[in-house]
Symmetry: D4
Subunit: 247 residues, 8 copies
């Protein structure tokens, strides 16, 4: 946790922070009563705290979002309702709302790509899985990385996969999003040699069990090199893929 | 049930059965105390009762097997232990034991193929799934039909599938046997235009849940024309595929 | 995939397609951004892509529906909401909407039955299971086949089954739709000698678990020749039954 | 609890019990350290405590069995291993061991039928379900009632059921034992007008889930008048059926 | 099925039915397209078909209800919405609506109690379980029997049970309705000597799993003589209890 | 139950109760038809009956609440809707409504803390878990005890935990509320030496299964001294923690 | 972690430890390669690390056991096989082996009761639950506390509970161990005013699901003040109960 | 698949392969009847096919193992029984058997590390989780990478984690292996900025459900950057981690 401490002390030494402010900052989080916003995360982990919008009121989201904006950080909120998006954009007009992926993204002036040669491929089995893919893509952008999308490539019409295989094989990390039987990561995984993150979605019905079937299928893949995240967790996949680009 | 009655009455008229035997036969089953052997099944459904060997003693299996042999029927027993196989083969030396598929098959002199132009393809994802495929294949033989086998064709090395695609596409009905993520029926189903019966197997570990994962995957396939049977139910798949050949 | 290529090249040779159009067509799908419509499916599998309406917007459904209509194909959409039906019928007035089964069907001038002597029986256990049966029946019509319906034939009043047994036994393939304990396929399966597709429905309460109970019951049937599809999957049953008629 | 107290005090008055013995007896149970044997059960509920043999050592079973024998009661032990049976029969040679149903029954001189006109029918779907049926039958005998057995009557060969329907309809209470899809109670329940206790068994494989499928099927029966007990609980069914005969 | 046939032929002989009507009636059910109303049930099972209102439209319910009323039978509908109740009562003003239990009952002039000395006790663990108890009570009334209610007797305040134990013990059959941990049948079952039907309810939260916990608890009761019905199935319990009174 | 009886008899002796009132009171509960309010609970268990508001109408809640207020007891209602809160506060203006925790609390003049030196720590993993923590805190207040809150202390930013460890270690009993992976009790449990009650919450998505994941995680903790309550059961945790303070 | 550091430094100052030994000790654990034995636990949490014997070899258990004995601590091992017990007792003859509870306990000379006036009651529903109760009792002894046992007190013979209610009510904390329907904690919990820890056991069959049913029942208890531990976790209950005595 | 073709053609051109051998090789797999060994995998994916030893006979494993050895490849077999290990080592004495991790590894002369500066950290929560960690470590070695192990670092004694935090933070990718509540990846994930693969193990009891609890916990982690593999899948984690090092 050294680099955060150093940063605060430097700011203090340079007069940016008063001694009281420095002391407060050194705690490493801002206490909003309902939430302790983790100010040290960017120093500790290379990325600021992300706001998980589900179960938070528009006011809570807007409050935390604005707090992080004023710290001149890249800010990402996920699972935001239209109401929350309106609330935040009223406060922070530069925030970009993606209704499909339900994300809000603010990029400060200092935003820049952390890597311009490597890219993450985001493959999506069906039209209904696109929102989860969008969440992953915006997360990757927030992390400072580049991605390329391949939509509606289901295993039951596998010629669509082979038609784009070369572009897919040129990616450095892959995210494969699929509902229903979740077979796409197995097929893709057997054709590439890069890390592949499988994202099960809740798209299906009956015995699909809201995504459990896709998840189980992915965990039991006979392709090597596949790891899995929670159902509909586009954010987690985008975040982990970005970390993999930095290894 | 007419044809069975006619058969018995004809045998009676021809003197093959005494009046007492005919009366007994007309009940439609032989009562062994622990089991009522369904003598009319072949007339009612075109195939004699099959002996499900699990949970039966070697003596019970041998008793029923022999009863059906003496009626000059094709006889099939599934899930037979080595002990039961020994017991039956001692009594009926012509019975053929398949240790991999755990089946016993007896074909009478009158055995003949019911269809010589159509065939059933049996595709198998992994080496460990072969026993289930074997159960299906012997059932198809017992039903009087022909099959062709395609083993060890997993989705994670999909070039093995394409290498044999033409032969696979020449089959009239397909049985696809797979454990693990059970994705093979989805891929094959998208490449063919014939009925496809998916058989999940219990081959896997951890979240495979003894075959539940393969089953769920197959039930949620995005390929059309796929129907599913119980886990490890090679017999059911072979039986249903044979019926489909007769439509 | 030969016949599709041949078809396109023939159209090109005959001047129906320009060289650019032919090149585009040879990719095998039309890319709508949110969906890649599989134009080659009818050539690959003998039936055009079916639109699964769940999770798609009325606009998306209408767009794909119209695309396929302009290709002079039979078009089927399932799981369509009343809103989507209105949208499609505004665009394609000849489309027939079945509110019970939630289907939309468009039959081009070239539509004709593919088989006039064989038929599929659709048996339905309870009044509440009818919507699933309807989805199967419209699918069979779309596939170019004929079906006959037998409604409200529950196992707890089994005389209703025997009252229609002869008609049922005259069908070439059977679809049995049932919720609750899902026992009907077992009883019917023991009385017929044709392939039987069991369709579990979500009709029930408490431990019915939204159809899981019916499904488990059908997978564990002691009748031979029964295969199963996903809960409420009338489409899948109708599609597979149609394929069986073509064996 | 009055009648028990009266009984003890009467024995005391008649000199059968000393004052110390009477005081001890009035507690209502004998304390064996590892078990408190419920001496008052026969007075409270009309039947002595039954020994559930699972998870008890042969010595513990034999100890409790003998204790109840010396009280001149009918004694029933269920789920007894061969070892426990040997132990008990060594101590109480009059005990009757049923290896199929895994029961031990001792009937004192005073044993007599409590009802000679009414009877309980025990119907059994498959050969492998017989052990559970046997447990029910011995329990009925221990309770002082009469039963009639109908074995191997599966729904997939329903003519076997109709062949015995008249005898079945003459029973006053029915117990229906079934594994696999557990459909038999639904079919029988629609043909009779008496209470029917359904007993799911663990006979099956794959998605049978050790009896869960049979249980769910029975709980969701569309036949009225059916109640259910735990998987393989032949004892519970026999006990409850006997109580029903006494209403 | 004799008595039904006799009844129809007698009506024909007496001129109540024309020859065409008699022929139609002998089929045993009236076909409404969406439903086959089982007219022979009262003769076959001693009670007319009950209308399960869930998943039926108000019009369908009212149609079947009225059909049965015109046959001068006792008519019971369960799981009726307020809308369906209004529809039916408009048509059949004599129908009695119980909003708590969601039932509709019509008793014809010929209605009479089938047994005046025996009664069924309906015990209810918590206030929220009352609707399920009401469904059972109205069913018992429809069947022509008498019941007595004992409400809000939870195991965590067991003195409330003992305060009414004598009345409870005077009942001939017991129905025990409970949500949460479902322990009441175990406690009551140990204090009585009559058949006890346990009804799990969906009242609870979290790990209650919509009634699964109560059900599992009841199936695993260590009290003998307890049988179980589906979650919230007050009708099934009332029906089975009534049959038990007739043994 | 002695102390309750004594209390009633004393009131009778002192003329506070008439002989009829005393007789009625000695029954130990007030019968409201839909509920038997347990008047003796405070004497039997040291705390009056708590009103579980879920599944009760505002009128029922207000009725019972007022009944207990008139007995001059501390009254707590949980899971109250805004409608029920309005109803109760109209009747009992002194009742304090906590909208976050969905509780209503009435403290009589005689209310006093039962222990002033010991306190319960309530730790909360995420912002969304606060409502459950609030339910626990109000329950502790109702029981006459003191608590201290520690909010938004997730394991993924563990420095927030260490920043408050000393205060946490000064508590006598701990309640740890967490959704998601439910890991916080394991970490805290390894750092303290007091009883720790873990409360899983339904906060999460996908495989969180409405709290099952948090619950399973807590039940399998490798920290000793941790016990668990039902999902979202803040009341149960607060009640049990208060009892622990009194040991 | 202060007191541990103080202890080591004091030992160093007093010459008990050399400077190298002190440095090593200050790490807080001894590294055995396969295990890091937590030497500071007694100082951090008031009790030494307990050896969970499952999945450890007899040699591993004996090694850690002996290590802790040489530190003159009370040592407890749970889930020890007979082989492991023999191995340990060969090395540490003073260790006491309880075959029923599968525990090994070593008490040093300095062992003494930490509280002589308060006691923990251990109630056990059935004979088969005793091993889990024993594990709890030995843990309580190891923690330096006193317990009293109440065995074979099932809810289906509730007079056995009332016969010992007074002794039970005199305990300061209760542990209630039950398999089957797990109802005992609900009944006991309604009769006492002390913390009650419910321990579900795996004793049952069929739908008992190896203890899941007992667990669910206990988590959904309507008695207040009940907390729950993992299935068969007698150790956890004994440990937590001991902590409660120290509050 | 170009590079494989090129490799074969080059070998042919150089005279290493005859024209027949080249033709055979170009198929891309060797057909052993029971298995198609994927010879092209190393070219397609940078690593030869790994032998999953479960459900294969010692003879099958030895056959495939030897086949790959003769191709001068690195060969890894997992889940090998002692019998299979003996069989293989008899044939290939240079194969190294790790009994803990149940692996067999053969490294040819050409084996070399693919990266000498980056390393993978393998963290293990408990002693019983070590076998799964070993499988990961040997896989990493087979892939040509380096790892560092951190054993027995459970969350309930979190000072053991902080004692080694600096070494852990110096790793480029982390694998965290944990059974029980599976909380370790959440805690570690919050302290590092590299990809973290969580491996749930089947170590636990009761509600641990053979690893399901650990898996669910890991999938629901509130730490970002965590991905998950199947229960006990050390191989999958090691393989994926190695791919991540190559990004």
């Amino acid at each position: 946790m050294d680099s955060f401490t150093k940063h605060i002390l430097t700011q203090f030494q340079e007069g940016v922070l008063s001694i009281d402010q420095a002391e407060e900052k050194l705690k490493g989080f801002t206490d909003y009563g309902f939430a302790k916003v983790d100010d040290a995360r960017e120093f500790r982990q290379g990325f600021p705290e992300v706001i998980f919008g589900a179960n938070k009121t528009p006011e809570q989201i807007a409050g935390i979002f604005n707090h992080l904006v004023t710290q001149n950080q890249t800010v990402l909120a996920t699972r935001v309702t239209p109401e929350a998006a309106t609330e935040v954009c009223g406060l922070v007009p530069e925030a970009k709302h993606d209704p499909a992926g339900k994300t809000l993204l603010y990029k400060p002036d200092t935003y820049h790509l952390k890597n311009q040669t490597k890219k993450i491929g985001v493959i999506c089995a069906g039209t209904s899985d696109i929102p989860v893919a969008r969440e992953a893509e915006v997360t990757i952008e927030a992390m400072g990385h580049v991605c390329e999308s391949f939509y509606d490539i289901g295993v039951a019409g596998i010629h669509r996969l082979f038609a784009q295989l070369e572009e897919i094989q040129s990616c450095d990390v892959l995210i494969v999003v699929a509902g229903m039987e979740g077979a796409l990561p197995s097929v893709v995984g057997g054709l590439v040699s890069v890390p592949l993150i499988a994202v099960p979605t809740s798209v299906g019905y009956g015995t699909h069990l809201n995504g459990i079937t896709s998840l189980l299928s992915m965990l039991n893949t006979c392709a090597s090199g596949v790891t899995v995240v929670n159902i509909d967790n586009g954010f987690g996949a985008g975040y982990a893929a970005s970390l993999m680009l930095r290894v």
